[in-house]
Symmetry: C2
Subunit: 439 residues, 2 copies
């Protein structure tokens, strides 16, 4: 059991107005009291907690100033945020007990049996109305959570508004409830009346134009499986970087509430399948399969989902892939591969740059290749580079050296002052030098 | 409970010489006695049993003639076979009980608690020596079962010989125990001394050159998840067309025997992952995910397996795919797509026709496409056609009309008297007429 807290939460109250501590189960009392008066040891434990589940509130105390203040726009470092204070614990060390309720799978351990989770449960069972939001350019995980929770509320007769700012991604139009997605301007409620549920992100700038509405809401719950890198959104935060997908967190909550309707389960399965790369990324652990089994029991159809996710590529994509393959260039002794696409390519086939999203990953699948790159013109004068690695090469570092970012295995950067051949040369040079082979 | 039997098995004896019936658990006694004296009702039940588990013996009675007779070569309809007599039951109706033993997952129901399974258990726990075999051109499922069971025996100090006739498939060289694979001529034992375990097939002709050894063995166990279409191998047959993979059947047996070592589990995971198409074919049911979770718990690494199976394509394959994409031809209003490869293509890139195995499936993934075809020259004067469908079109019927065969979603046929352009024309015509669109 590891714990940390850098702020005094003793004054905080839950949504029913009771002090937070009162909703802690009795067996947690000792731990909680230590959290309430943190010692230097606890504080240091925070940074050493390693991968685990962060659960707690990043909200300002109710008595403090600035709550529901105005949002200063993307990238702000002040405003209605509270320094990232959270209770960290290694998920596995909690003593969960089995809750009673409908349709729990065998071996199920309740996810909502500690303090903040109890609060999350209260909110999910509350009267709403709810705003549901995910990050800009939503992926399958984010959007599947929004729509799963939306259908859960809808079935209970609770007002719920799944918001989307961008054009809804066409390849996800098979998600249940897709037609209910709402533009922010069509919201029939004042955001101040609503509870905002935010999925798959924990930083305000990734909300894009939805940030204003979400930050104006009377309460915020943030469910995320990414590590926070920037300024965290204020609100009640459930964050577990060990979770294979945000859909996995939502699954656990809805399962506990008996809300896994077939359509809800199928949406969540989409998120889980997608964020584990079809059960083959490093985040595919036993839990992912147990959740999948349970979602299938609840009504998700793996073959149906698989066909819609993986066998539904627009013909334009085939033409793009054909060009990418034709232009592929293997170098550094077969350990690196690069290819490219121009704006003209996208125009000719009638595709958006987003359609080429995972071609860099596809190039990486060549035997012997350690690192792959796709160079593509995004708009006149702007060239994007997607880098993929099998883990031996840290492409996040390569990207960072060019002002970009990402993860060890997937990263990218942009170039504004070079032509496409120059960027190709740059990429060849970067990859060759990292692979310590003269190009 | 549905049952059928068209032969009297009362004289059969198990490997310890006891009458078969004596090893049936008591609660099965009523059922079994009805099987022993089948009524017309039982006989008719056999054909109506539908998808379910067939378990029983297709072996000739020990007292009968012809046991261990010579094998007459592929395609025989007489020889050491017994008419396909089997006890069919709908798997789910059996009353399994939980067995005690090491490391059973929660909710585990023993697989080996009825008569024939008890016999299979006896054999797996027996002294051997064992011959392990799978079909010609082994796939991941067949070979993973052979090697998983081999490692299971090896760990127990039991003699076991994993046989392979063809060149071992290079893309599976990461399977644990791959280096132990043995050519039939290197077998240090007379086959008559051995027990043969046959995986992922139940028809002798699919054994190729291994059939002779397998049929000479003193006992045979056949584990398969395909429906028998031809003449079944004689022996003790465990066949469950509802099982997602033969690896799933082996998993259940080894799990029950406490034999899921990490390497065994990882091999079986490969079979399960592969035969479910990465958990996205129709056979991906809850059981598949529960088995996957359990195999991961036992030591299988999904990301490691996924990388080796899906990110390990030879560069030649990329060149082939590039050509296939370039030559793709969409017709019938976007509902059909066809492409082709010549022998020259394979020679130029240095690949075998097997490398193009799943390009037809890849073509099917285009949005709107109902049916896809890949036409490829296999050798001078012989052209193979692979057909894939999403299920609405029955490609098995199309293939059958040309003397080929297969399943509704995946089938194929060969042509010997036509040129490649003629075959392409034929395929266009066949697909167009099935889609009821004039080409």
């Amino acid at each position: 059991m590891r714990f940390s807290c850098t702020t005094d939460i003793s004054g905080w109250r839950n949504s029913s107005g009771r002090p937070w501590r009162s909703s802690f189960p009795r067996r947690c009392a000792t731990r909680i009291s230590r959290v309430l008066s943190p010692s230097p040891r606890w504080r240091s434990a925070r940074t050493s907690a390693g991968p685990g589940c962060i659960i707690g509130s990043t909200e300002r105390p109710r008595t403090g100033p600035g709550r529901n203040g105005a949002f200063a726009g993307p990238g702000v470092t002040s405003g209605p945020f509270w320094p990232n204070t959270s209770i960290s614990s290694t998920f596995r060390n909690w003593n969960f007990t089995r809750t009673t309720g409908p349709r729990r799978p065998k071996g199920w351990r309740s996810f909502l049996k500690d303090s903040s989770r109890e609060k999350i449960r209260e909110i999910f069972e509350g009267p709403g109305p709810f705003l549901l939001a995910t990050h800009v350019q939503p992926d399958a995980d984010g959007l599947s959570c929004v729509l799963a929770v939306h259908l859960f509320f809808k079935a209970r007769g609770v007002e719920s508004y799944p918001l989307i700012e961008d054009d809804p991604p066409e390849f996800l139009d098979f998600l249940h409830g897709f037609g209910d997605l709402l533009r922010p301007e069509a919201l029939p409620r004042r955001p101040q009346e609503c509870v905002a549920l935010v999925f798959d992100l924990s930083e305000a700038q990734r909300l894009g134009g939805l940030a204003e509405l979400v930050l104006a809401a009377r309460e915020r719950v943030i469910l995320d499986h990414h590590a926070v890198s920037g300024q965290a959104l204020s609100g009640l935060l459930l964050q577990d970087p060990r979770a294979p997908a945000t859909a996995f967190l939502v699954y656990q909550i809805l399962r506990d509430l008996g809300g896994l309707l077939p359509e809800v389960a199928e949406n969540l399965y989409v998120g889980l399948y997608s964020d584990t790369g079809g059960f083959r990324f490093e985040n595919t652990r036993e839990e992912a399969f147990l959740a999948a089994a349970d979602l299938v029991r609840a009504g998700a159809r793996p073959a149906w989902v698989g066909e819609r996710l993986l066998e539904n590529y627009p013909p334009a994509r085939f033409e793009l892939l054909s060009r990418v393959l034709e232009r592929r260039e293997v170098f550094a002794g077969g350990r690196a591969v690069v290819s490219w696409l121009t704006l003209k390519d996208f125009e000719e086939v009638g595709a958006r740059p987003g359609e080429a999203e995972d071609f860099a990953t596809f190039l990486r699948s060549m035997r012997g290749v350690k690192v792959s790159a796709l160079v593509k013109e995004l708009k006149p004068g702007e060239i994007g580079v997607s880098l993929r690695s099998r883990g031996e090469v840290d492409v996040a570092r390569i990207a960072a050296s060019q002002g970009g970012g990402g993860h060890v295995r997937a990263a990218g950067f942009r170039q504004r002052e070079k032509t496409l051949p120059e960027v190709l040369d740059l990429v060849r040079g970067l990859l060759s030098s990292v692979l310590e082979v003269r190009a």
